[in-house]
């Protein structure tokens, strides 16, 4: 009921069409009652009483009525679909909007496959019910009402007796819908589980193979596949039992009409034509009865689907915009963290009372061990997460007081995982600035050291890169991502330097690109190179979510601390190697 109340407003803008459709449904249902009356009249007046001049017109009337009814039936469905398809369009569009706005915190926990099944299967279930379900359901309802009315009108005694089965039928329909709801819920949930299981073992096939764990994966899959089959069979058994039971009840009605109606004809209470019309009416009732199970199932699935859809729509984004959030202009690039604490909802403290002041144009290198909070720290600036306490300020403004779009427009990012979209390189580079000219794109690509590579491709900037940028190496993808960030030309840049999977030459290309990107901007770099650290205005060393030390390389190297350890163990040997190379020349 709650779901219905929530869903109905979607029809608001098309309410006139809905009314038109319902009017047509009522008319068509009424016309459906007319045909048996014509037949009854034909049997009694023409075939039995011999008024043969009515034979041809009466027979033609049957076709004429059907023709009119046919036109109306097309109209009722078409009008309703006009509205319901728009409703579904809106639902999809809203879901998409929601998905685009949910925070990183949500996606940390979500599985792509499960989300997909919501937006596809659940919306599809709603779509079927919203158009076809409503039209057929109300058509059937109208047919039942008019048919029962006509039966009562012809002979209330026979009608009353032949309709005793109706209460049983209602009872059966209600019990069936109860069973069906839980059965379909189980199937839908299991479908999601099964796809998730398959998807995971396909995505991870390389790991599966490397560890020779195929059998484990097969067993995991079989477990889900088994449950899936069991649930489906349970639903099949339920559906076929109840729908056939309902058919049986309808047949009981026909038997009663024949038996009791026959006696009424014998006693002269009704004519043979009436008996035949009663039979036809019972046949009219049969279809709604048969379809009852179907329609109940359709609405049940739609209800379950809508519940999940609304659940998703109601998911509150952790980083919602304030009602009166103001748009930021172009920032100068000043960033400050004031007593910032942060933890994910597991409760584990990730950042612990962080204080940081960064002036426009400064370059900040962030160092620390894995899990020390480096990623979390830089994710707070574009407000991918909100701090648990404290505040993040850009140009003196709390990031929670401004619109997300204007904030993020001021920040370019090169994320650790390079994701490219399945489109051309040109579009990928211009991702953050859709209106960019070709000159701008090429300039960004040149600065990111990827232009030469792109120019060497047959389709150059029109080359389509596949799912997850298939066809490009890790280093190439990363440079495309850098070009993408460069094109934003934003006052703040956030880089994750822990480059993956590149050879020495490529690493140098990337480094040059990154240096380029940081020029004249406030830059935050998760650093893994000595040169980055040396060139940084400020080095922030993180240890278990706390700032262990802040300063320049020269200052920090004087202290006996974590930085010194990192320097001694990794940065210095690399430097010495460079020196050794110089000797080799």
């Amino acid at each position: 009921m709650r779901i219905l109340k929530r869903f109905l407003p979607y029809y608001r803008s098309g309410w006139v069409l809905v009314l038109v459709s319902f009017a047509q449904i009522a008319l068509a249902a009424a016309l459906g009652v007319a045909q048996p009356q014509v037949i009854r009249w034909m049997v009694d007046r023409v075939l039995t009483a011999g008024q043969w001049h009515w034979l041809l017109p009466g027979a033609a009337l049957v076709v004429g009525l059907a023709l009119i009814q046919g036109v109306i039936r097309f109209g009722q469905r078409y009008t309703m679909e006009l509205v319901s398809q728009k409703v579904i369009y809106d639902v999809r569009s809203q879901l998409y909007q929601k998905l685009q706005s949910l925070s990183f915190g949500f996606y940390d926990k979500a599985q792509t496959g499960e989300l997909m099944s919501r937006v596809t299967a659940d919306v599809e279930a709603a779509r079927q019910a919203a158009g076809m379900g409503i039209v057929n359901g109300s058509m059937h309802f109208g047919t039942v009402v008019f048919t029962v009315g006509a039966m009562l009108y012809m002979d209330w005694r026979l009608a009353a007796v032949s309709l005793v089965f109706l209460p049983f039928l209602m009872n059966a329909a209600i019990r069936f819908s109860g069973h069906a709801r839980s059965a379909w819920g189980d199937i839908q949930a299991q479908t999601a589980k099964l796809s998730a299981a398959i998807q995971e073992s396909i995505s991870g096939i390389r790991v599966v193979r490397a560890f020779a764990r195929e059998e484990t994966e097969i067993q995991k899959f079989q477990k889900e596949n088994n449950v899936f089959q069991t649930y489906n069979l349970k639903a099949v058994r339920l559906t076929s039992f109840w729908s056939n039971y309902m058919n049986f009840l309808a047949a009981l009605g026909a038997i009663i009409v024949l038996w009791y109606g026959g006696r009424r004809v014998m006693s002269g209470g009704i004519s043979i034509g009436t008996l035949i019309a009663f039979n036809a009416y019972l046949a009219n009732l049969l279809n709604p009865v048969r379809m009852l199970g179907n329609i109940v199932g359709m609405f049940t699935r739609a209800g379950a689907g809508l519940q999940r859809i609304f659940e998703l729509m109601d998911t509150r984004s952790d980083v919602a915009e304030k009602p009166g959030a103001k748009a930021l202009g172009r920032l100068t690039g000043q960033v400050a963290l004031r007593d910032v604490c942060f933890s994910y909802d597991t409760g584990e403290t990730v950042l612990d009372h962080i204080e940081l002041d960064v002036q426009p144009g400064q370059r900040v290198a962030v160092l620390g061990m894995t899990g020390s909070g480096k990623s979390s720290l830089i994710h707070l600036i574009p407000r991918f997460y909100d701090p648990t306490s404290g505040e993040v300020l850009v140009d003196g403004v709390d990031v929670r007081d401004v619109t997300l779009e204007s904030l993020r427009h001021n920040i370019a990012m090169v994320l650790q995982e390079t994701f490219l979209f399945s489109t051309t390189l040109k579009e990928n580079i211009a991702y953050g600035k859709p209106g960019a000219t070709m000159d701008e794109i090429v300039a960004a690509a040149k600065a990111a050291q990827i232009h030469e590579f792109i120019a060497s491709l047959p389709d150059q900037y029109e080359t389509v890169v596949g799912e997850r940028g298939v066809g490009l190496s890790g280093g190439q993808k990363q440079r495309v991502a850098i070009a993408r960030a460069l094109l934003m030309n934003s006052p703040i840049i956030i880089l994750d330097e822990s480059t993956s999977a590149v050879d020495v030459q490529t690493e140098h290309l990337i480094q040059a690109a990154m240096d380029r990107v940081m020029q004249n901007r406030t830059a935050f770099v998760i650093a893994s190179r000595l040169s980055t650290v040396m060139n940084a205005d400020t080095v922030v060393v993180l240890d278990h979510g706390r700032i262990a030390a802040v300063g320049t390389h020269d200052q920090l190297i004087q202290l006996e601390g974590l930085y010194r350890t990192i320097y001694e163990l990794q940065l210095k040997p690399a430097e010495e190697f460079r020196a050794a190379r110089g000797v080799a020349v």
Binding site: Q35, V43, V46, W52, L55, L56, V62, A66, F74, S93, L99, Y107, D108, Q111, T112, M116, V119, T120, I198, I202, R209, F211, A212, F221, N225, N226, Q229, L233, V236, F248, A251, L252, A254, I255, L258, G262, R263, N279, L367, M369, T370, G371, L404, R408, H409, A412, M413, Q416, F419, F421, T423, A443, Q449, E467, S498, D503, Q505, Q511, L569, A584
Partner: protein
């Protein structure tokens, strides 16, 4: 995120379109589908038998009405009426249970076939070589396993039922009508050609509109899938509005396609009703003519029965006309499924393959030639020798063939020429399982499975006890951060590793490799995502762990390269230089050049920057 949503990788398979004509379908596809149905022919026969019972018991109703009217009601025979009502009741009861049985049996077969098919596909996927996965995106494999298999089920549970049940009903109705009154029957049958014309007209239009609709749905899903996967980038670049616009466009196209398909459908069913009404008209009119003539012995009861039969006559014909669509969709799906099943695994166990005992770790590549595409060699005459316990570093530019070498070592592919020998055994002569279960592999792409951290670490050796897991984690320096999480080793992670950083995931992947207690360790640029300090921890840990274990490392970090027992410089598919770090540096050859060349690369990079600046100005 742009206009063409080709989710396909390079060199996609041919069945991505829905417009495949039945005539194009290979006979082998039918044979294969028959192979899945055959084990259940007995059950299906029972189903068909029950269908016959259902069809006949469902059709005696109108006949009994006719008998009741003509023989008992008109003659006021109350006892006869009682009997006929009782007979009617019995047949209705029979009809209830036989149709229940029929539905259940047929659906059971359908569901079981689905189960078998998915099971076989999944097992096959586990055997298929990486070449297959290189060219087939996950989403496309998924759609074959989920939607295509469902479409095949439609064929069994709707298609087969429809053909048999409806044909039986049709034959039974025609026979009964002819027997009752052949003249009236023939007149009623005049509507059949009209009906067939109507069906044909709509069938083509339905096919077209439904095809378009399916294609729109495919676009919609592709857009959605990518939007979800790339949501972090989207938010970083504030592309939400732009994407919404693109999505709305696809969404609108889907709505349009839906409307078109539904319009045709909404016209189709009423049209059938009109033809049915035409039949009733004909029966009434000609029945009247015959009764008036008095000669043919037509009764009012017969006319009544005919009208009842005609109502049931059109449903089976309409359903049968739909079977073609179901059938076509199913066959196309079957072909797509077959395409997966027909993929031969490139790497298979030899018939006489032996299980390999625990390897000592001596590795030899002898004159290896290898390529992913026929005619294009990626490796040419590669020779590598590693003594037990040695650390081998592979260095060289991207695309030189380093990953190919370790892929051959793990036997993810087989070489075109030459042999890979482990302790003197050709890898092709041992079972894949016995060899791979001795490997510890850490790849570029850190993939964790849904489950606890503990389960992920012991993935390669499920028998590992908790102490082993902790030991492995401690050795790679992962224990500290795992222990700091509230749930420790019982923390749930998934594909994307949820709250773990990339570095942490890599540490877990490391622990996973070590926990497998491998005879041979393969690291593919595995330390690139770990910060310097952590890497040092790992390097130190590895120093101890690598002793007694042969290991192959694709290395970029100097510390790894320097500590290797032997360095192979790979370029353009061949070994250019080999030796220790000092040997190669003193050699002053390519290895030394490669590092000196960095300066050159840097200079070029700076030139590019200058060029870009001048273009901007």
């Amino acid at each position: 995120m742009g206009m063409p949503f080709n989710s396909g990788g390079p060199g996609g398979l041919r069945l991505d379109e829905y417009e495949v004509k039945l005539s194009d379908v290979d006979k082998a596809v039918y044979r294969r589908m028959w192979g899945f149905i055959r084990p259940y022919t007995g059950k299906l026969l029972i189903g068909v038998l029950l269908m016959a019972v259902t069809a006949i018991s469902g059709l005696v109703g109108p006949y009994m009405v006719q008998v009741a009217i003509d023989s008992f009601i008109k003659t006021r025979d109350t006892a006869g009426l009682n009997w006929i009502a009782l007979a009617f009741l019995v047949t209705a009861f029979l009809n209830w249970w036989s149709s229940y049985g029929q539905d259940y049996v047929v659906s059971w077969v359908g569901q079981t076939i689905i189960y078998d098919l998915r099971d076989q596909m999944f097992r096959h996927l586990q055997k298929l070589s990486f070449k297959f996965y290189d060219q087939m995106a996950t989403g496309r494999i998924m759609s074959r396993l989920m939607s295509d298999v469902d479409a095949i089920n439609q064929l069994v549970s709707s298609g087969v039922v429809s053909i048999f049940a409806n044909s039986m009903v049709l034959v039974a109705i025609i026979a009964t009508m002819l027997k009752m009154n052949w003249r009236l029957a023939l007149v009623a049958f005049l509507t059949i050609p009209v009906l067939l014309l109507v069906i044909r007209y709509f069938r083509d239009r339905m096919r077209e509109t439904f095809m378009t609709m399916r294609r729109r749905y495919a676009d919609l899903n592709a857009n959605l899938a990518e939007s979800i996967s790339g949501v972090r980038v989207t938010q970083s670049f504030t592309r939400e509005n732009q994407n919404q616009g693109q999505f709305n466009q696809v969404n609108e196209q889907t709505r349009q396609a839906n409307m078109d398909a539904i319009s045709v459908l909404a016209m189709f069913f009423p049209s059938i009703e009109v033809v049915a009404a035409l039949g009733i008209t004909l029966v009434l009119w000609y029945g009247g003519v015959l009764i008036r003539g008095g000669a043919a012995g037509v009764t009012v009861g017969q006319v009544a029965a005919f009208i009842l039969y005609l109502r049931r006559f059109f449903d089976p014909i309409r359903d049968l006309s739909q079977v073609y669509n179901v059938f076509q969709a199913a066959v196309v799906s079957a072909e797509r499924v077959s395409e997966v099943l027909d993929q031969e695994p490139e790497v298979v166990d030899a018939p006489d393959a032996q299980a390999m005992a625990r390897a000592v770790g001596q590795v030899r590549f002898e004159h290896i030639d290898f390529g992913y595409v026929p005619g294009q060699l990626v490796l040419k005459d590669v020779n590598i020798a590693a003594q037990p316990g040695q650390t081998i570093a592979l260095v060289g530019p991207t695309g030189a063939g380093k990953t190919s070498i370790i892929s051959l070592l793990a036997r993810f592919y087989d070489p075109e020429a030459g042999r890979v020998l482990i302790d003197g055994h050709d890898l092709r002569n041992v079972t894949q399982y016995s060899w791979r279960s001795q490997l510890g592999v850490v790849m570029q792409d850190t993939f964790l499975f849904t489950g606890t951290v503990r389960d992920n670490i012991r993935y390669g050796r499920p028998a590992a006890i908790d102490a082993d897991v902790v030991a492995a984690a401690t050795a790679v320096g992962a224990h500290e951060f795992i222990a700091r999480m509230p749930k420790g080793y019982d923390t749930e992670v998934n594909e994307r590793g949820s709250k773990l950083s990339v570095g942490q995931r890599q540490l877990i992947a490391f622990a996973r490799a070590l926990c497998a207690d491998p005879a041979l360790l393969i690291l593919d640029e595995a330390t690139s995502n770990i910060d310097t300090y952590t890497e040092v921890l790992i390097q130190n840990a590895l120093k101890h762990l690598l002793t007694g274990r042969t290991s192959f490392v694709i290395a970029h970090r100097l510390s790894t390269i320097r500590n290797a027992d032997r360095i192979y410089l790979i370029d353009d598919g061949g070994i250019v230089e080999e030796g220790t770090h000092d040997e190669l540096l003193n050699l002053g050859g390519r290895y030394a050049d490669l590092y000196l060349g960095q300066f050159k690369a840097l200079a070029e990079a700076e030139a590019n920057v200058a060029a870009a600046d001048s273009l901007k100005a």
